[in-house]
């Protein structure tokens, strides 16, 4: 099957991106190199094409009521122009997808979902929306999404807009920001652990905006590929669907209970999550560092006291670091900081220690 192309495909090629198949999209895995790009975002600023992400609109009298039922976090407390991170759970409490909820008004809400889940999510949402007075629409193919992340992100973005970006607070948005004359939705959100913005706009102007940003950003703004996007989100302790989040793992087990509000109204999967919390978890994700040699990769098995206790969900030796660190979904008895576990690397058991998965002090501007 031919790969889908974002409206920035030609820009990626011009910038020397190494293009790969990612969830059916032709996207750059790297430009200069994962390490250089990772550090560029931590030290200056990086520009990401995230147009492969999905956008689904929910409109209608019961839009807010529906979204509140659809997701595990409490959408009813959202102010206008506020953004919320949460999950759509299935009836078993597993995660259909993690997503961002953008509330324009009680009657107009935008959901931003993972590229690999767009079709599954849309089918799920359409089915669940039947009993509500709402209209759902998958607008993913019309919308481009660009992220600018890093300590200099605001300063660079400010150069192409007359709106004071200080007015866009953490996890809020403005849907009518003019960037070099192009109307965009701009939110102070992102997936790197850095301060930064996500920009949504019509496909036809995406390449123009990227070129404008690269122009004003100069050496302080680097194009970033999917490789560094993954190392950055992992270092910031942010989960990835398919790794830490799955349809057979609940968000409580993924250690993300903060984004689940069990005391709020009814939502899909709530009963299971309430019961799971009451009975206590049997497994949970935990951060770890290898004490022995090697690198623990996603999919490797974890052991302790001579028995298998779970699986690594993500593992890296991060750019600029000496230690191999990872996240694993393991038996709750071993998920506490300081516990000794072992990771099986190519048929050898390597010692590891459970540590906090907040590998990085986040620099969000709140």
């Amino acid at each position: 099957m031919e790969l889908k192309k974002t409206s920035l495909n030609e820009v990626h090629k011009k910038l020397g991106g190494k293009l790969v198949d990612f969830a059916g999209w032709e996207l750059p895995i790297q430009f200069e190199g994962i390490k250089a790009e990772h550090l560029a975002v931590r030290e200056r600023a990086g520009l990401f094409d995230v147009s492969h992400m999905g956008e689904i609109t929910i409109d209608g009298l019961e839009a807010l009521k529906f979204v509140d039922y659809l997701v595990a976090n409490n959408a009813s407390v959202l102010n206008e122009n506020q953004v919320m991170y949460t999950f759509m759970c299935n009836e078993k409490g597993g995660v259909v997808d993690d997503l961002l909820v953008y509330k324009y008004t009680n009657e107009k809400i935008l959901l931003v979902v993972n590229a690999s889940n767009i079709e599954k999510d849309y089918r799920w949402i359409e089915e669940k929306a039947k009993d509500f007075d709402v209209v759902t629409k998958d607008i993913s193919n019309d919308v481009s999404q660009i992220a600018i992340q890093g300590p200099q992100a605001q300063e660079i973005l400010q150069k192409v807009t007359g709106i004071d970006l200080n007015e866009i607070k953490f996890f809020t948005f403005n849907s009518k920001v003019l960037l070099s004359g192009v109307e965009c939705l701009v939110s102070r959100t992102g997936y790197t652990g850095e301060d930064g913005f996500e920009i949504y706009l019509n496909n036809d102007k995406a390449a123009f905006i990227v070129e404008e940003l690269l122009n004003v950003g100069g050496e302080d703004l680097s194009p970033i590929g999917l490789g560094a996007r993954d190392t950055l989100r992992f270092e910031a302790g942010l989960p990835l669907y398919g790794n830490e989040l799955r349809d057979d793992v609940t968000p409580l087990e993924s250690g993300l209970g903060f984004f689940v509000k069990l005391e709020a109204g009814d939502f899909i999967g709530k009963d299971i999550l309430v019961a799971q919390k009451k009975e206590g978890l049997k497994r949970r994700t935990a951060g770890f560092k290898l004490i022995g040699k090697g690198i623990a990769r996603g999919g490797y098995k974890a052991f302790a006291d001579g028995k298998e206790i779970g699986t690594v969900t993500t593992g890296y030796q991060l750019p600029g670091q000496k230690e191999s660190i990872g996240i694993a979904l393991i038996d709750i008895d071993y998920a506490k900081i300081g516990k000794n576990i072992e990771i099986e690397i190519r048929n050898k058991l390597v010692d590891a220690e459970v540590i906090s998965k907040k590998f990085l002090e986040k620099k969000y501007k709140k």
Binding site: I29, G227, I295, P319, R346
Partner: protein, 124 residues
């Protein structure tokens, strides 16, 4: 110094008498990107041609390295344990293993520089 020969798996080999040094090519290190870890075999381990003798890990993934010819390990480049990026910086200087050749005839199956360059062009 003898010239280098190359395998289809992107290792180079430099024969010196009955022994030889083995490393990975410039093309291989570029494809892998930043190398963060090298898993080396033990001295005296014996491997058949095309058998995996070690693992090279980049930020993104682990890749096996294969023997271009059969042989016994007589030395490993321990410097790679602390400085795996030597393979990025100087791929033809930073050898990985030194072996005693089991069958010098196997060298005939390897590629010379021009044949290897052709292979890399096909790769690109």
């Amino acid at each position: 110094m003898e010239k280098l020969l190359y395998s289809k798996n992107h290792e180079w080999i430099r024969k010196e008498g009955s022994t030889a040094f083995i490393g990975i090519t410039d093309h291989a290190q570029k494809s892998l990107g930043e190398i963060v870890y090298v898993e080396l075999p033990e001295v005296d381990d014996e491997f058949e041609i095309e058998e995996a003798f070690g693992v090279i890990e980049s930020v993104k993934a682990a890749s096996d390295s294969y023997m271009p010819v059969s042989g016994k390990i007589i030395e490993i480049n321990e410097a790679l344990e602390d400085s795996p990026t030597l393979l990025n910086e100087d791929p033809y200087g930073a050898w990985i293993i030194k072996i005693e050749l089991s069958d010098e005839g196997e060298l005939d199956s390897l590629l010379d520089l021009s044949a290897y360059n052709e292979l890399c062009e096909e790769d690109n």
